[in-house]
Symmetry: C2
Subunit: 375 residues, 2 copies
């Protein structure tokens, strides 16, 4: 080992521990429990700059590493064992605003943080942490009228079971028995499920707040599981995905149940489909295959439409394309321009300083909702 | 140490390992994934005799112990590390039928089993396992019409927030806009929350199945958090519990919201309150304090009523007392006899071969529901 190599190794060691961050004068000492902690749990904590601090009890462990580090989902934070046999550590830098999945590796085993609530992502229930965002007001729990999120179990002949979906009905839905509503079918991403848009996406609170401010037309949102054919989600990736079983469940089983059970306006003009990531791929495929069903299409970090893919322009009322700033803003922007040039009502949205994560999608829904079902 | 002591120690050692169970010819090799596993997860597994088998990956750990052992919630199962660095182990005997909370202690730290779904109990989200029961049909997911479980957020001035509750509406609730329903307010136990009765209790499936068989009058069930005053549930036990804040939320805030939002029959004759364990204590206290509100009372492993506690016998339509066979069947039986002698319509139920756990309470609800709101 020569001197240069040694210097690099030393520098790596200096910056790979948590000591650097914990002793840095630039870290503000205003850590508070994450809003997504389990009741009464003090850790994990977040400070006003977005640093996260973790605390894990495992007195006999040799190694405890949290999967979150500087920035977004990359990197990790190696915890150190204190005199009290408790492992603690702080991220090496501020995390990006919004929601992040994470887990804790204890002596080579992957577990959840006992302090945090769990959210379904990466085909498992993972720990989640919320980094306060400058614009968090739009998805905050406020003293406004709240809609309901119904857990429904609808019959599915094609899969020979009762399947679960969640249905958001806007505030006041129960009051006026003659009022009918448009419907948005809203899909999660790969490895997530029908709980994602309410739990980590806060779709119901986003809608409650928008409706209270008079910024959107009230509508129903339907959220169901999109990886219908994947029996063992951990075993197969996107390559084993087949759209057919999901399309059958969505259009031939769930939609008739929703139209028969809820006071929907059951026609193409009042039906939208949107999805994030893999849910965008599903939206793209199904809206193109069945232009008679949906009139509003939205892909959130989920690709684009080309004008030539759409056979009958008159059937499409809105195409919404969004992405995180650190994803593919140029691609979204070019695709939107091409759609506009071809005469479509196309709108694009780029979420500032976010990547392929729920803060991008919360913001996207917040921008999308007011554009839907305009008369 | 004399010989007798040594013999006892030796016997203890012989029976405390997992080797005994794993090599016993009496254990049937028909293990299947627990029905409460996370999607696609093979472990934990359960066999037809009720043995549970666990598998935890933590290659560098020195000790992995599962909190479940022989029988119910007592004891533990020490896992052993295999050649593949994976920890496995089987309970030393069959588990009791039904649902059990558990956790995994890895090198002194308490974590959840990454293979199992989580359920809120003991003031945290814990792993859960389902041991197939001989009578599991009554809470199985079947091809029958299903009610909805609504997540509602109701305004609470006394606690200065929007609080969450779950409301079960029976199948067909949406179809007939003029039909109104009685309401059961159903409380969880200490350390649990408003998710317990649907998730581990399967209250919605029990009702769906009873209604499909024509065995119960359809009614609405309202479930909310009962430890209202306990800001940090882990810090305080029952001693820090105060009924007043909960009673205010339940009667002055939640009930008016429910009656204004759902098609209830908003009178005393059509209102029941029931609770398990601490929820029974709450039911007992509130029904006695406010005889004008509820007409049907049910305590599930939650104590008894004495005839002299009830001021106006004419206001009480039903008193239901239940318990697990391994809890306090004599106490329940004597209290019920005393109530009957005093002229009350009292019914008792003892759940066979169960203790203070959800199988007792699932069965109790199954027996209770058909007794409620009889004309």
């Amino acid at each position: 080992m020569n001197l240069k190599t040694l210097a690099i190794v030393a520098a790596t060691i200096l910056f790979s521990g948590t000591g650097f961050a914990q002793t840095s004068p630039s870290i503000k000492d205003d850590f508070k429990p994450s809003t997504f902690n389990q009741p009464g749990q003090e850790y994990p904590q977040v400070n006003s700059q977005g640093y996260a601090r973790f605390r894990i009890v495992a007195p006999l462990a040799q190694s405890v590493v949290v999967s979150l580090g500087l920035g977004g989902t990359s990197g990790g934070t190696v915890l150190s064992k204190g005199a009290d046999s408790v492992w603690t550590g702080t991220t090496k830098g501020p995390m990006e605003e919004g929601f992040h999945y994470y887990h804790v590796t204890v002596d080579g085993g992957v577990f959840n943080d006992p302090g945090a609530l769990n959210f379904y992502g990466s085909t498992r229930w993972e720990s989640g942490i919320e980094i306060p965002a400058h614009d968090q007001d739009f998805y905050a729990l406020k003293d406004v009228p709240h809609g309901h999120v119904h857990q429904i179990l609808f019959p599915s002949k094609s899969t020979n079971t009762s399947r679960r979906a969640f249905v958001y009905t806007p505030p006041g839905y129960e009051k006026n028995n003659s009022k009918r509503y448009p419907v948005l079918y809203l899909q999660h991403g790969w490895g997530e499920d029908e709980t994602a848009w309410s739990n980590q996406g806060r779709a119901n609170l986003i809608m409650d707040n928008l409706i209270a401010e008079g910024k959107t037309k009230p509508f129903i949102i339907v959220m169901t599981y999109g990886m219908t054919n994947v029996v063992r989600p951990r075993a197969g990736g996107l390559r084993s995905f087949d759209i057919k079983p999901f399309q059958t469940v969505l259009l031939d089983e769930l939609m008739p149940y929703v139209d028969a059970t809820f006071r929907t306006i059951p026609n193409q003009a009042n039906r939208a489909m949107a999805g994030l990531s893999m849910g965008g791929f599903e939206t793209h495929t199904i809206t193109l295959a069945r232009p008679d069903v949906f009139s509003h299409y939205a892909l959130l970090s989920g690709g684009t439409y080309k004008p030539e893919e759409i056979k009958d322009k008159s059937k499409v009322k809105l195409i919404f394309l969004s992405t995180g700033q650190f994803e593919n803003p140029d691609g979204i922007s070019k695709a939107t321009e091409a759609l506009k040039t071809a005469g479509f009502n196309a709108v694009s949205y780029v979420s500032p300083n976010t990547r392929h994560e729920f803060q991008t999608w919360r913001r996207s829904l917040h921008v999308l909702a007011p554009l839907l079902f305009k008369d």
